[in-house]
């Protein structure tokens, strides 16, 4: 690995910022340089939310990704439309297929459509963990960090009274990982 640039984007409330935080935490636990850079501004409430995560073996320059992204995770259509063009050639688009789809045929990028909302609703009764399902898919698809590091990150991010959320998060992660593996 040299540098992995990953953009997580969706509606506010879909958990894009948390997804990115777990990824960044996992990268840090592996001893890499990491940055987690959120969008912040007047558009947050009810609008789009995104964060840019970089995991690298070198000191990180721009924490904002405007080109050569390795992966874009789009949890809704506006996010897909906004960020698909920052992907590098050969980069991976992971779309939350329930709410987003690439409208054109592209052979210069990899596309993985994950029906994360449906999967989360069927398993957990709500779409809340769709973000973690997509995180599982990212780790399988481009391996920016190891699976064990994500497990470690869960225990750091969900500390104390939040520990009760870990089993469902792990389950969701495994579902996404398996989906990506079976739908290459």
């Amino acid at each position: 690995m040299n540098t992995q640039r990953i953009c997580c984007a969706g509606f506010g409330g879909q958990g894009t910022l948390s997804m990115g935080k777990i990824l960044a935490y996992a990268g840090m636990l592996e001893g890499h340089e990491v940055s987690w850079c959120p969008s912040y501004g007047p558009e947050m409430r009810g609008g789009t939310a995104n964060c840019h995560v970089i995991v690298s073996d070198e000191p990180i320059g721009s924490p904002v990704i405007t080109r050569d992204a390795n992966c874009v995770i789009a949890m809704n259509q506006p996010s897909l439309d906004k960020f698909v063009d920052i992907l590098a050639k050969g980069g991976t688009l992971i779309a939350n297929a329930d709410l987003a789809a690439l409208k054109e045929d592209r052979d210069d990028i990899q596309v993985l459509n994950v029906p994360a909302n449906t999967m989360a609703s069927q398993e957990f009764g709500s779409a809340k963990l769709a973000n973690i399902i997509l995180l599982g898919a990212v780790i399988q698809a481009i391996s920016p960090v190891k699976v064990e590091s994500v497990d470690d990150a869960f225990t750091h991010v969900f500390g104390g009274s939040k520990a009760k959320f870990i089993p469902d998060n792990k389950k969701a992660f495994e579902m996404g990982f398996a989906f990506a593996k079976n739908n290459k």
């Binding site: 987690w36 850079c37 959120p38 912040y40 501004g41 320059g61 721009s62 924490p63 080109r67």
Partner: protein
């Protein structure tokens, strides 16, 4: 201690506590509100005092009072809030008291926007208050550097008897990066025997601001400038990035220097011999860096999130205003890597 992933705003709050600061007076404003939020819960746990003042003006004058009493004291805000504090900053500077002021800059002027900016360079570096004075201005480019600089700021403030401004921006405040808190003070600090701690049977101490006799006021100023000369001689700090074979040098600080760093990797791949001088102190401006490299450099490429407030200092430092090209975005816009690459190619074109 293991690294932890922290938001810049919370990390600078923790850094202040680690540096022994026990007093914070401030007022919330985006994009730095997590600083007071963090300190409001964490300072009381270590026996400290957090006050959300009724205004920025009140907060900076509480800082003045605490500094006069010898405390390590912090305030923080973002651009328009720092503008409100200028009168107090001038008074603290004139009184020669130590205090630390964090500015997580946003787009201006006036209320401007809440998104990141660097257009408070002049206010911080040239002095936003009246009279002849300087404050030390530190410019971090990462969350870790913001932590180190906040901790160092308390030492510099105590050592020289001057306010120190940590000039970051909303992006550094809002982003998360791994940090550790292992800064060690390199200065020998004297006890604050001058502090206003209650006379009792002891000697009379006084913190002065009004020096009404003009000749005395001039002498007072000259004493300040002896101190400033020492700071200029001893405290210039900068980073040199890929300067060894560089024929061109970007000059950029804080968040914009991060974008430049990535742009340089693309420009290097395209064959351009380009590096960067990154000022870590904005006052004193790192003139020594330019003395060291100027003979190798054909052009300086100044990149800022402002309309070019640093350009005059670069011109002064390299002593040739014709050697500087400027590119900036302002009003809350962070430039994209490609814009900087294009700017670089335009300036250096055909001259690889």
């Amino acid at each position: 201690m293991a690294k932890v992933l922290m938001k810049g705003n919370e990390a600078v709050g923790k850094a202040a506590i680690e540096a022994g600061c026990r007093y914070f007076f401030g007022y919330p404003i985006t994009p730095q509100s997590e600083v007071p939020e963090y300190l409001s819960s964490e300072l009381p746990k270590v026996g400290g005092v957090f006050v959300q003042a009724e205004s920025e003006v009140a907060a900076i004058n509480m800082v003045y009072g605490a500094a006069g009493a010898g405390a390590r004291v912090l305030t923080s805000s973002s651009s328009p809030g720092i503008a409100l504090k200028q009168e107090g900053i001038g008074y603290i500077s004139n009184a020669g008291l130590p205090a630390v002021i964090i500015n997580m800059m946003r787009g201006g002027p006036g209320l401007g926007t809440i998104q990141p900016g660097q257009a408070d360079y002049n206010m911080a570096v040239k002095g936003g208050s009246n009279g002849d004075y300087h404050d030390i201005v530190l410019a971090p480019a990462s969350v870790q550097e913001a932590v180190n600089m906040v901790m160092e700021a308390f030492d510099l403030a105590d050592y020289y008897g001057t306010p120190v401004i940590v000039l970051a921006d909303g992006l550094i405040g809002q982003m998360m990066e791994p940090v550790e808190f292992n800064y060690v003070c390199k200065k020998e600090l004297s006890p604050k025997t001058w502090a206003l701690t209650g006379k009792g049977d002891g000697e009379k101490h006084m913190v002065e601001n009004l020096v009404i006799e003009a000749s005395e006021c001039e002498a007072w100023n000259q004493k300040h400038f002896e101190k400033y000369a020492k700071i200029e001689a001893n405290e210039q700090a900068w980073e040199e990035y890929l300067m060894d074979d560089a024929e061109y040098a970007f000059v950029s600080y804080g968040t914009s220097s991060r974008i430049v760093r990535t742009a340089i990797s693309y420009l290097r791949d395209a064959g351009y011999k380009v590096g960067m001088i990154r000022p870590k102190t904005l006052w004193p401006f790192p003139v020594k860096a330019f003395d060291k490299w100027d003979k190798n450099i054909k052009k300086y490429l100044d990149v800022e999130m402002s309309m070019g407030q640093m350009v005059q200092d670069v011109a002064y430092a390299c002593n040739d205003k014709n050697k500087i090209e400027f590119y900036g975005r302002t009003g809350g816009i962070v430039p994209a890597v490609d814009e900087i690459v294009e700017f670089g190619k335009k300036v250096m074109g055909g001259d690889k």
